[in-house]
Symmetry: D2
Subunit: 499 residues, 4 copies
């Protein structure tokens, strides 16, 4: 058709395409939270999302239902700045609500893709909030569009809504099951209708989702820290492939997928989850300390002090120091007042090597052999700067120890990663990387060391216990949308700044 521009000139792209370069980490894209059957539900959701803020700082949304109608609020910015306004909370009436917080895409991205997505279906309103990434979303979207569906966002969540809407099943549970059976990839979903709250995890259980209870009201949340903030009781992790349906009569559990061996994202332990959360039965802080201990055993070094790259390297550095019998010192101080928008002002100082976020503590470092512990290396640019800063502060030697294996492959399961070519470990050996970041020595944790830290004997290469694709390139699902393309993220983007 003449006016058909074709997918490559389409206005759409998957969300992950907008990598924020500011911070050299992988970033989990979302946190979800829902509560059913509790007065001031939206206020509870606000608190839950606040505790999940580390999973996404750009924007957040809450949908509540008050028995008669749905209320939708979506705002760009931190929960604590946007949803704590009385007027906002007052509009979100009802005793059930779900919410979502999302990772920074680019500045102007606006509200178009902020979740929960809400739409009116034939049988009433449906809101869906999603953590993960549907790896066949575009393929499904194209089929749906050919059937006449229209898409008003670039979110794969909208694809799920369409699948629910077009299902031939008659009952919402059946329609929902019909929908999630058609999608592939990683998804931890929370959904709300006028009568139900639904939570489900993909059959591999790649992203976390926990069940909690607050004085009889059921809660779904990405991590247990979101239960702690409100004093809710942790009930259990949802099982991989489980779908729970909460109504005013109680909770019921469905298992719509063939059982599979779990492939939980091991990087949640390395970096994404909050240290005080427990996910899939393990405390995150404890795992990180054990990682540090394994690292000290695998990559020992003669040194004077162990210094974490704050804050993400701190637990592993504590473990490393304990195991190595070296003093743990705060040799780098982090400035927590750095906002997302801090731009070095003035042309003449843009290349001064300004230390906005981290500063070395010269008195601690001067003349010392320093072990720096960080959680991971992505592009290597931040590591370069930090090593230089530590050298400028007078370190005699700098030894970098990384609390994970080299990250060699992109993630397609809801994590913002650079394309593979930009991953330092995909194009350099460890020795080359050491030279690139200018350290006396560089050591990574081995993949088996990582598995030991989470309590396994070793990686079962025939049937890995976790998703570790970013380290191994071993993706646990098909990647249908990515087939035949270098990277789905190169699609053009709808510029929708002003919404």
């Amino acid at each position: 058709m003449a006016e058909h521009a074709g997918p490559t000139s389409s206005a759409f792209a998957r969300d992950g395409g907008l990598a924020a370069e500011a911070d050299d980490h992988f970033h989990d894209e979302c946190g979800v939270f829902g509560i059913f059957g509790r007065q001031d539900a939206a206020a509870i959701v606000t608190l839950g999302l606040h505790s999940l803020q580390h999973r996404g700082q750009e924007a957040a949304g809450i949908v509540s239902y008050d028995g008669t109608q749905f209320h939708v609020e979506r705002h760009v910015g931190l929960i604590g700045d946007t949803f704590t306004k009385q007027s906002v909370i007052d509009r979100l009436q009802g005793n059930r609500a779900i919410g979502h917080t999302r990772y920074a895409t680019t500045g102007g991205a606006g509200l178009r893709n902020v979740q929960p997505f809400f739409a009116e279906l034939a049988d009433g309103g449906l809101a869906v909030a999603h953590n993960g990434n549907i790896t066949n979303a575009m393929t499904v979207q194209r089929v749906l569009q050919k059937q006449g569906a229209i898409f008003s966002s670039t979110s794969d969540t909208e694809t799920i809504m369409h699948l629910v809407a077009t299902s031939k099943e008659r009952d919402l549970n059946a329609r929902f099951i019909d929908a999630i059976r058609q999608i592939e990839g990683a998804f931890s979903l929370v959904a709300l209708t006028s009568k139900k709250m639904i939570g489900c995890r993909d059959p591999l259980g790649i992203r976390p989702l926990v069940l909690g209870d607050l004085d009889g009201a059921w809660i779904l949340a990405s991590e247990t820290c979101a239960l702690d903030i409100i004093g809710a009781r942790f009930v259990r992790d949802l099982k991989p492939g489980e779908m729970v349906v909460v109504t005013s009569k109680g909770i019921e559990s469905h298992f719509p997928f063939e059982p599979m061996k779990s492939r939980f994202c091991v990087f949640e332990y390395v970096y994404f989850a909050r240290p005080d959360s427990s996910v899939e039965g393990r405390n995150v802080y404890e795992v990180r300390k054990k990682i540090g201990m394994e690292l000290a055993r695998e990559e020992p070094v003669e040194a004077d002090i162990v210094v974490p790259v704050p804050d993400s390297g701190t637990p592993a550095a504590i473990g490393f120091a304990q195991e190595a019998g070296l003093p743990f010192e705060l040799g780098i101080i982090r400035n927590h007042y750095v906002g997302r928008t801090f731009i070095s002002p003035g042309d003449s100082i843009r290349h001064m090597g300004v230390r906005l976020k981290h500063n070395a503590n010269r008195k601690i470092i001067e003349g010392k052999r320093v072990v720096l512990v960080d959680d991971s290396i992505v592009r290597g640019t931040t590591s370069q700067k930090i090593v230089q800063m530590v050298r400028d502060a007078g370190a005699k030697e700098v030894h970098m120890r990384i609390a994970s294996p080299p990250t060699r492959a992109s993630c397609f399961y809801g994590v913002d990663t650079p394309e593979k070519a930009k991953l330092l470990a995909s194009r350099m050996s460890v020795g080359e990387m050491a030279e690139f970041i200018r350290v006396n020595s560089l050591g990574f944790l081995s993949i088996d060391g990582l598995y030991r830290a989470v309590g396994e004997a070793a990686r079962d290469n025939d049937a890995p216990q976790f998703c570790d694709a970013c380290f191994t390139g071993d993706y646990p699902t098909r990647l249908l949308d990515m087939e035949g393309t270098d990277n789905v993220r190169t699609l053009s983007l709808l510029a929708n700044g002003g919404q």
Copy 2:
């Protein structure tokens, strides 16, 4: 289905449901503007919408296409405050663009319903901006939802998009024709794809739409004043039922409906259109002056001065004064700095009868027999206050003359009107109304007088030349959505303040 709340508890309502009480007028809900084939297209659209600001002050949107991708900007507020920012205009790249300005609904309504609506269809992006109201939108929407469509706004524009998307035709023109043949009511649409700009009017031509030309670039606009602001040439009014398709090769015209006699909205002449516009071949200011002359003949009065209720009563007052041989005087001064948000501050003065918008000029009025000329009476509350103010200023007699027949029925064609029971003329005789607003005499123009003012001999009651339903209750189309309900506007509304 259990979770089906049914339409009455749905989150949706047609847009018109949110009557702004601040101003006792009917309000046209929208203005549209598009240009194809001109550098800085969005800047031109900005100017066009600025000149159509009287058709809607709440919010505006522009969609442009730059040859590769679409750009969407939607903002709450006046064009001159939002779209004139360099950063906004810079994002709207491309040599073709359409825009829309909409009437105030309630304060918190947010961006959800701001047009143009944009979505990705199987064959690429489609943007639609709409002036009017689809009277079978909900009926169609329910059918579409049963087929699996999901609706993310409450705009009937989204219904049109779905009809285009689900059409079985293969060519966009055919699909568009297929869509508009399924809808009823009033619609003057402007649409944009990557290759085409489309404009069309409903078969009765209820709302205006004109075609213009700026150095070879085609323009579609609600009124001619939007051509004047940029020095564009007026080509012609689109015909009722006409659909024009503009491509880089030129313009072509389609007539997808059975020919019908035109039923243009006569209230556009009374109040909606700008006095310097010409619509359907008549200059609005001239019609209003003739209305004033007819009124002077039909409802003469012994008086000293003719005073308009500014600004909408001014042209008719000039005509009345000329015909009656009475002096035309600015006996009431309007304060143009009244914004939408002006709320009398302080409890103790809320009922002081504060004159925020109009003030009587005592020196002109004192001791005089005053003919006040206004365009219409809706609820009567503003008239009451103005008459009281003129009396307080010392008028000896106050005679109100209204430049239209009594408004007795709601409009369902894209005009914000109160429900019928709140229309003063629907529950009072002229005598009772005179008493209610406390005037010495009250006169309305007759329906035939109005038809004479627009150049007809009289209303042809068998085949009326205009839509005059607000005066006569004679609706020129079916009102499918309203059947069996008192008023479609009573549906519950999605509260979506924060978007």
Copy 3:
């Protein structure tokens, strides 16, 4: 002294230096309003300032006193947008308050110079709001600085505060009198202390100030329209040189200056004051109509229609049409939605001659001999554009009639005027001006015609009844600050955008 940069490199300039080019008019810089002894005083002041918005749209301030402490609010923007917020009004507790609205200076000027000025003196708080200009303010300021005074704004109001503070008198009334005796120029002041509200006018009474009464509470306001909005009673104009002191015991009147013949600003009648106000005993609308009549007699013309340049030319056009026996027609329509920030977007259309504010009504003008009536010509650029627009609309002849004499000299009494060299009438004869703006004929009202319109037989050249310096160059006071300089406005300016 080494670090003394001298006055020419000082950070200060008188306010008037920032001519806004957007609108080819002289602009009065301020309106003042105060009330003493009324609950919700600040809310009343808000309403009063709203009705004085035509005297200044940039920013406004209110100071109230609640019996214990003063409250100060200053905001950039229209009264109706800023002071009507509940939180703002709620902070302005007290039964006495004064306020000020000021004319646009440049965009970034910020809050530094927004009045009322408030400071703590030895004997308590003092707030002063000022309409006018002190012509020896810089001279006095330099003396005060040498005595150790520091200035934190560029407002001449601060000079008055310093004079009150440093007076050797012991009683506030005496100190205030001491202060105003040292200043020259035009001033209509309203001041507030914890016990008193003071109002005063300069000895020539150049700017207006009226006294009103609202159920026993005294009001001071720039114009009577500010009394009308709240239904207050007009008591009288303050006399030139009069100082009134309002306390809880009542009002007393002082005359601290030698009596002089009044020299009220005649331009208040021509343009500044609102048509529904009465100042110095004359209704502004009536004066303007009489001006139009005089103009029709002095500068008659064969023509078909009289068209005002809206809105300021409208009353004179009505008078002209009545006197000339020609039809009065709205041949030019004004778009009231033009905000201060409207900038033609896009480089390619900046010189399209866009008609943001006015549009000619072609159907009315085409083929006609048109008399355009405007209030004044300042730079002539706007007149040029309007004439061109009327010609483009097909006028056969265009005759411009100006409702005042040619403006040949700058105003130094609180009016924003361009420097003399930019005034069209200062460098062209009437014939040259006619050619410049491309009209068939151009006529100005004579100075005696203007005096007749305000009720005098003619101008008394030995002892003029008004200040008409902008027409005659005959300044009624010394201009101490301007001596030896071309223009005081060339002083450097403190750039204080962010405050």
Copy 4:
């Protein structure tokens, strides 16, 4: 005099009066930074202030001088949100600039007191930024007011400006010396004129001020971390009572006071300064670790783990753990996304004991005997909540160790402290405090222990080496303004929200 309200009903109060209750700490009120002789000076100041953000988060200001005029920007909010906008930095032209960041007072406090203060004196512009508090400011202010000075802010900085302005000396250096000789208390000032940058410390050197050098441009800053961020060289601490004057010819040093023994604020080491700063020759992190070690020796305890109250208790906890031979564990996780405005939404959850800022890590704490290390106890309310949270997480025993002596007295030297009666240690014994916060044991560092940690043998009670008034009540200066009043902070306050 009749209208004299007297000081107690004055609109003014010293700044410190607005204690923010949100956080149970003393708070230093300000950080200052200046640079002279460097392109893009304001951008450098922005970076310097960003690194001093911990000394004040409410608002900041920068004044630059470009050789012709001064530029002033003041904004409420974090440096990284306000001063990094290109438009703001672009307005701050010049190669010399000073800046100031200030601690939160109340929300509505507005811009009135944001520093640097700028005013025009007889010999040109003067800007002053101040860290500290003038203890005789009100006394001096009253004298100045009686001489005719007017005060437009409540800042004691304005008092200094007036003293400079009214000095009889002829040279700026002499005038500045004259001014600072008249003030008492704590002050680390940075001032800017068109020719000079001046820095000075009070004769006791209570607050810090360091001198740095960036490629030949002189820098003054509150702490060394502000030098590190831009890679500037630390030159030395200013000496107590020293005044340095920087001009384009270089730097000169003056000592206008009689030499006194230094009394640097020991609390800068305990809490105010950043751990990576070195002040008065000691590295802050090192001092804090030594404090922890002293504390472990003075107040040992049988326990399983040492847990810091993050982030301020962390360095002392590391020292404690090292000295005690106990594992250091992150048993409490801090949420860094808590903004100043986070208010628990919804009435029903206001008293849920929500954990917005800290969460205990149950897996680490459960069943353990926990030593909590915090820097100080002010009101005790936060300690109560944290202890409860740790108990809820299953701690077997909770032992609190405080890295400073009990805070028993208010600070009058530029620190925001509650009034004495609200200090827990001023009304309870250590035993009562232990009961109040519900710990198994509570131990504070002794005053001599604190002195040992900073390198002294013990406190010299006859001539203390530091200002430790908050622990001892031994104020090193007169407190003139506070004499005869319970607390100067009880004065009424000018409510100036909207500025």
